[in-house]
Amino acid sequence: MVINSFNFLLFFTIVFFVYYFPLKENTKAQNWLLLISSYIFYGVANWKMIPILLIATTFFFFVGKQIPRGNEKRASLLTSIGVIAGIGLLFYFKYLDFFIQSFVDLFNSIGLKTNWSTFGIIFPLGISFFTFRLISYVIEINRGRIEPDNNFITFATYISFFPTIMSGPIDRPNSFIPQLKAKRSFNYELAIDGSRQVLWGLFKKMLIANNIAQFIDVVWSDISTQNSPTLIIAAGLYTIQMYADFSGYSDMAIGVGKILGFRITKNFNYPFFATNIAEYWRRWHISLTSWVTDYVFMPLNIKFRNLANAGLIMAIIINMIIIGVWHGANWTFALFGVYHGLLFIPIILKGTFGRNKKLKSNKYGLPKLSDFMKMVATFSLVTLGLIIFRADNIAQAWTYIVGIFNLSNLLSLTSDGLRVLIPTLLCTIAMIVAEWKMRDKEFPLQIDSIISRKGWRIALFWIIIIVTVLYSGEEQQFIYFQF
């Protein structure tokens, strides 16, 4: 049951009515409902994974409760146990088979035959997301920012909250658990805002991401036969697909959360308007980057502070490798992390790391030319990185990049399908223009200040609904479900 499906609409409608009518303002009962709904939602994807989620949740709940105040040594020990358990969980389900296979390949390549075999471990959906929530819970207790939760239902609901369990955003306990404890009555403005955000997410996912996916899949299915222009266009479109797919999901999850009265962590802040890589990472998958920044980068930066810029660079490269490897067990993800880490070096040396630039428009309402050029450069660098990210292995990524620089046969495309993408490309332009225009808002459909008449707003929403329905591409799984 995916969030943009008819089944989810039915499921959510039932949850909504039970949540706001029989259980109105009964926080305890509402949390029970959310917990049961979340486990049903998760179980529909694969019921066999429910015990893993439940056991992990129970374990961390009790570890959290045991972390004492005033006994730093014991608190650190228990926190370390929690962190190691979380990493162990991820390692087992996500990386173990990969490492076994890598060792087998390594030994075979030097002539040492092994009879090791992988375990064929099934990867539980959403594990990267809920594990990071579990880990942050014990760390935050140890840091004294939250109290251990005494209510298992509240804690389990935070971990498994159905809009976000599959693909995030990765909410922190300090922002989410208090919302679960607070009295929640229906908030009209928030629900309207959430509904619009769901619509915007559907537009991005169903229209832009799903349509582009069909072209990208054809190109990637046999990259050796594609010429340079096709590879360049496919690479650029993949960057757009990734954004539309993942941010589309995040918008839908946040929107659904708002309808239920929750404010979920923002996950994207118009990353295509970033003027350098550092800024890009402050705008892309914010809940992950801020998690890794708080729990990995900051401690490393303190540890390496005596090394000045070299220390900062080391901390960032390690940080980026963790972000890369978080996506999955493949050397491509590690290389993706190294690549992005290296892109930070000029920014650090220039001394502009950490600076937030306020974007300004020229007299036509467009970005200033210098900013625009920087945005294009950043987009290109990100696109190059995503080739590594998308590839099955490093050799395939290399073939792709070499193919881009093969300057023969430049006047045609080797893959059909771009022509049918014209409506999608027009909608992509519309999306980028809308995002630019509304960049100070959380998402572009927060239009009350510029379209004051309700009728016009409804007309605009209907245009988006009709265009999305008519031009939506074939159903595709959300890219981030695999992470």
Binding site: F186, P423, Y471
Partner: protein, 320 residues
Amino acid sequence: MNIKRYLIDSFIYFIIPLLIIAIAWEFSIRSIPNDYSYKSKWLKDNAHDIEVLYLGPSTVMYDIDPTTSKWKGFNAAHVSQSLKYDHFIFDKYINQMTSLKQIVLGIDYWSPHGQMEQSTEWWRVKYYTIHYNSPYHENKFKYKYELYFHNPRTLKIAAQGAARILGMGNVSHLNVNNLGYGTNYNVNNKLIDWDNGVNEAMRHNELIKTYKNDKQAYEENLNYVSDICKLSEERGIKVILLAPPIYKSYTNTLDNEYINDRNAFCQSIADKYSNTTFLDLSNSDLFAADDFYDANHLNDEGTRKMVGLMDEQIEYSVLR
């Protein structure tokens, strides 16, 4: 109060209009006659009268015209119809087909491995649910409603359907004659680019490659055909497993392994059931370039030749 306002706003401005549009859309498109609605209705009303039932994919639908045959027959083949749906149609009407003497089941190269749900033609599955009341996908929206498959072209079709309901139009998607033969492939509009065979065979090579490792699908397809043959044997009905005529540009490009696979698939069933024969016309010299509409479908001239040949084969098969 707030929640009431939210629900009223949502219902008045969005949910009710959306539901109305969705229902109107579904009914409008369903109101347009198509090959599936015609054939299912024809079978429901006339199955008792049929002596020969033709099943299979487009190669049968466009290659055999029962109106020119000396046998009372009906062509129940559909484009990309996989063996699962051949079996379904046979099973649904077998008890009504009291005069049935012969079944001709077309088996393409992809058929032993093919599953319509897994192919690019998945969108046709809904027609079996809507028009034939197929029980396979009762709970799957995408295989049950026209609504699921939507694009700007379907908007136009929905508008045409609405016009038809209101008596303001008469659009039809019926491309078969009264006995189910596909009428759009004829001499006058035949494709003259014989490379089409190469492209089509390459497409099928790729298609079969994606299916090939699915042993379960192969076993299921084997069971579907075996079941047709077994039930027919019990009722004294003869079966011809037909490898339809193909133009050489197609045959030469198709992977030999798939040709052998298909032939072995058919032969193994023919060997098992005494009422079943395997008729391989895929390399037949009887059909020249002029007989084809494209590389794997005959035109109306070729169909006349084909029907003559099939009449003889059926006579031989039935009297055997």
